[in-house]
């Protein structure tokens, strides 16, 4: 029996050696990719012992913090409505929003070498998380959330000069303090409360593009404010959609300022045709509508439209170009000031290892979209902002847009509001109330 026993012994040796190799594969070769998985809760469990950093608004008000005793810290959000922006930290469902964007600083890893962290682990002295400060203003944010209320939609209020985002509301929201308990309901909710509508939902712009088409037409001198357009009788046909004026004009022929005010589609579709593919593309490019704004949070932009084929539809805002409320707020800031589109910013400063605040510079440069005089001409036509409808998707759902700025000259604030219920008056009211609140001395 001895040859068999020897072979059996060899088999067991090889089998155990094979197991050792496989164990080494997972523990060493695949180590990093396994540990980086979102369903690895170990990194976040560490935050029960070494608290995660706080998130502040620009005035120092707490938006998120770790509370409790050492060994038992838990994340707390005193202002839960901001959840689509701040995101969440969950041992089961990973990170989102600002929590994910600034995780390195908040968790405390950023600024350390890997060996320093390993050494700290051995000593049990892992660095605690550090704080970050957002450009948001909790007072204005509260006003925006209150104004938006139970409606589905989004509000973006920015500092028109610097591009700092002052309020970023997305409704419906969710409560990040009870995320783990309610997760299955939240992900299944057709209203998509986890989605940040202000930065990550692409909406049909519709008439909200009209001020920019007008500005481009003036700047390229293909039209003047005195030119008269025939709008009576036939509506603008776009596929199966018939688009006309929001309010029926008294005359058949109207000027561009009147068309802007009454929300007539035809003149802007015609201007877009006249501008042509190249200049339309230039306009949308200058307004940065064709790429995702760079604010650290997940943002998005639509596929580039076919400028040759759908110039008229694009002018009506019903082409294949879609955009986020953040896009539109930034473009509106350019009209409110001297044609300068500011670079957006959400993260204002992060705390360094020494505890000092280090400002975050915007990742873009400002861009001159219009000449100051063109911006001033269009601005003069929008003393109360611009409200417009858009028809979204195949089902023909109506969206209500409002864009505006304040004060009238040399604006300091710009706002964009979208309501998915299509209530134009409400959108205008929300936007103007927020501008008034921001502009109050």
């Amino acid at each position: 029996m001895s040859p068999q026993l020897h072979r059996l012994g060899l088999f067991f040796l090889l089998a155990f050696a094979g197991m050792a190799l496989a164990a080494g594969y997972w523990a060493v070769v695949e180590q990093e990719s396994l540990l980086a998985r979102a369903d690895n809760p170990r990194r976040l469990l560490l935050e029960r012992r070494f608290p995660r950093g706080a998130i502040f608004d620009r005035t120092g008000a707490v938006l998120a913090e770790s509370v409790g005793a050492p060994g038992n810290y838990a994340r707390h959000y005193p202002y839960p409505t901001l959840a689509p922006v701040l995101g969440y930290v969950s041992a089961f469902y990973g990170l989102a929003g600002v929590e994910a964007q600034a995780d390195g600083v908040l968790h405390g890893d950023a600024g350390y070498e890997a060996w320093q962290l390993k050494w700290a682990d051995i000593l049990g002295l892992r660095p605690s998380g550090r704080a970050v400060r957002l450009t948001l203003d909790l007072q204005l944010q509260t006003a925006a959330d209150r104004a938006l209320g139970a409606r589905t939609g989004a509000v973006v209020l920015i500092d028109a000069a610097s591009g700092d985002i002052l309020a970023l509301a997305s409704h419906p929201s969710f409560n990040p303090n009870t995320l783990d308990e309610n997760w299955s309901t939240l992900v299944a909710d057709p209203a998509a409360p986890l989605l940040n509508r202000a930065t990550f939902a692409l909406y049909q712009p519709g008439g909200a593009l009209q001020p920019f088409i007008l500005a481009a037409a003036l700047q390229t001198q293909i039209s003047t404010l005195d030119e008269v357009f025939q709008v009576g009788g036939q509506p603008f046909l776009f596929g199966e959609l018939e688009l006309d004026c929001n309010t029926r004009p008294y005359h058949i022929s109207i000027s561009l300022p009147e068309a802007l005010q009454l929300g007539c589609v035809q003149p802007f579709a015609e201007l877009a045709e006249r501008l042509g593919a190249r200049r339309l593309e230039q306009l949308f490019g200058d307004l940065r509508l064709l790429r995702a704004p760079n604010i650290g949070l997940p943002t998005t932009a639509s596929q580039p439209p076919n400028f040759e084929k759908e110039a008229g539809a694009l002018g009506a805002g019903q082409g294949s170009l879609t955009l986020t409320p953040l896009h539109l707020a930034l473009a509106t800031a350019a009209l409110g000031r001297s044609g300068q589109l500011p670079p957006p910013r959400l993260l204002e400063a992060t705390q360094t290892i020494s505890g000092a605040w280090q400002p975050v510079t915007p990742s873009d440069n400002p861009v001159a979209a219009f000449t100051p005089s063109v911006a001033a001409q269009v601005r003069a036509l929008l003393p109360n902002g611009h409200a417009a409808y858009a028809v979204a998707g195949r089902e023909g759902r109506t969206l209500a847009w409002f864009t505006g700025f304040a004060p009238q000259e040399n604006a300091r604030f710009a706002v964009a509001v979208v309501l998915e219920d299509g209530d134009l008056a409400a959108a205008q009211e929300i936007g103007q109330a927020l501008l008034a609140e921001a502009n109050a001395p």
Binding site: M1, S2, P3, Q4, L5, L8, G9, F12, L13, A15, F16, G18, M19, A20, A22, A23, G24, W26, A27, V28, E30, Q31, E32, L34, L35, R37, D39, N40, P41, R42, L45, R49, P70, G71, G124, L125
Partner: protein, 438 residues
């Protein structure tokens, strides 16, 4: 001498890991401040019991079997002490129970060493033993329970909170039966000069004696065992029975085709089971691509692999990892808990210890005096080795997961007791100073 030295090393290891456990609260709070935690006196209890058990086993084995193998006891007690420390760290409630089970298992080992004698009683009543094992296992169909309240009812009892899993002694009894039967009949079954024929001996002319009638009882008893565990949906025991059967047939016959046929049957049976049994399909799919359903069916395996990664080379340190994130880490997945806190170094140590134990068992078989002793020693070593490979391979995604315990380390009283009896038998088989039997 050597055995005493090795056992002392094992004792030092167990005491050191207990000390580490007692320090967990302080290490976590990173302070020596007294208010952080009270010194946990429970951690004095289990190493003490372990020490007493090891000492008793050592003394009695040396008294009765002076020529026994010096490596078996140190490896057995090192692995079970390590397992005990892991279980205490994971779920102290199970720690209490497992400590008591260690005492029971040691008692069983001591009784085996003391009274096993020349093992003729095992050999002679082989049918009785196996039938008893089968009957006990069959009883679970009627009065089977599951200690956790739901799930497969593979246990008997519930008397004063004590549960018996009859499949654990059944494994041992099957090996005894196979060894006894094959030792007696292997010539008739495998004699090369005889042509293969299914005709009864009377019908054949002269030398052409059929092997099949001799093979039949063996096949019958083995099939009963297989059917029983398959009916129980106990995949681990099924795979184990099959593997042990094939290996022991090979050992007895020396025919390589036995291994080939065994492998072919395993593949066929595996494919058949994949289509027939949901539980097999679920396991195979969770093994083949766990990444598609990491929060559902593959949760355990994915979390186990993450635990391996979290352990890295040297591990987080005892008490400092988070191995409780892997479901039922104290039982089938104790290897993942070991990996996280002791790292690759710990895994290599555990694998080496298991391999050494198996090789010692085969070594004992090599030096055994008669075919029964040879087959029994090799069978017990194979059973332990295959079981370790099955569960480790399942945890680290080398093979589909089958629910068996990691020998000596996993939580589970029946399996610990059965394994200690096996070690007792191996100790007995290794002792050549006992008078030659007739």
């Amino acid at each position: 001498m050597r055995e005493r030295f090795l056992l002392s090393l094992a004792g030092l290891f167990v005491i050191a890991s207990t000390a580490a456990l007692a320090l967990i609260p302080f290490a976590r709070a990173n302070t020596w401040a007294a208010e952080v935690a009270e010194w946990d006196l429970r951690f004095l209890f289990f190493p003490l019991i372990w020490l007493l058990c090891a000492l008793a086993a050592y003394v009695i084995t040396n008294n009765h079997l002076p020529g026994h193998d010096a490596f078996l006891l140190p490896i057995t007690f090192l692995l079970s002490g390590w397992g005990l420390a892991l279980i205490w760290r994971l779920t102290p409630n199970f720690g209490w129970r497992q400590t008591l089970w260690l005492a029971v298992a040691t008692l069983a080992l001591i009784l085996t060493v003391r009274f096993a004698g020349d093992l003729r009683w095992l050999r002679r009543y082989r049918y009785t033993w196996l039938t008893l094992g089968l009957a006990l296992t069959a009883l679970t169909f009627i009065i089977g329970v599951n200690p956790e309240g739901s799930g497969a009812r593979l246990w008997l009892g519930g008397l004063a909170g004590v549960f018996l899993q009859p499949v654990e002694p059944l494994k041992l009894l099957l090996v005894v039966f196979l060894a006894a039967y094959l030792a007696e009949r292997r010539e008739q079954i495998f004699t090369p000069s005889l042509p293969l024929s299914t005709l009864p001996p009377s019908a054949s002319s002269g030398q052409a004696v059929s092997r099949f009638p001799y093979f039949l009882p063996l096949l019958l008893m083995w099939s009963f065992s297989m059917l029983l565990v398959i009916a129980q949906r106990d995949l681990g025991a099924g795979a184990l029975f099959f593997g042990v059967f094939v290996v022991m047939l090979y050992l007895a016959s020396g025919r390589v085709w036995v291994l080939g046929a065994g492998a072919a049957l395993l593949v066929l049976g595996g494919v058949g089971a994949f289509w027939l049994f949901d539980v097999v399909r679920v396991r195979v799919e969770a093994w083949w691509n766990p990444w598609t359903d990491p929060t559902g069916r593959s949760f355990q395996i994915v979390q186990a692999l993450i635990a391996l990664a979290a352990g890295g080379m040297v591990g987080a340190g005892p008490g400092l990892g988070a191995p409780t994130l892997v479901p039922v880490a104290h039982s089938d997945f104790i290897f993942a808990a070991l990996a996280e806190e002791w790292g690759l170094a710990g895994m290599l140590a555990a694998l080496s210890l298991m391999a050494a134990l198996v090789l010692r068992g085969l070594h004992i078989a090599l030096n055994a005096r008669n075919p029964f002793n040879q087959l029994l020693a090799a069978g017990l070593a194979t059973l332990t080795g295959l079981q370790a490979l099955l569960i480790i391979g399942g945890v680290i995604k080398v093979i589909p997961l089958t629910g068996v315990t990691f020998p000596f380390m996993s939580y589970g009283g029946s399996s610990l007791a059965a394994q200690f009896v096996m070690i007792g038998l191996l100790l007995r088989l290794s002792d050549n100073s006992v008078k030659r039997e007739t």
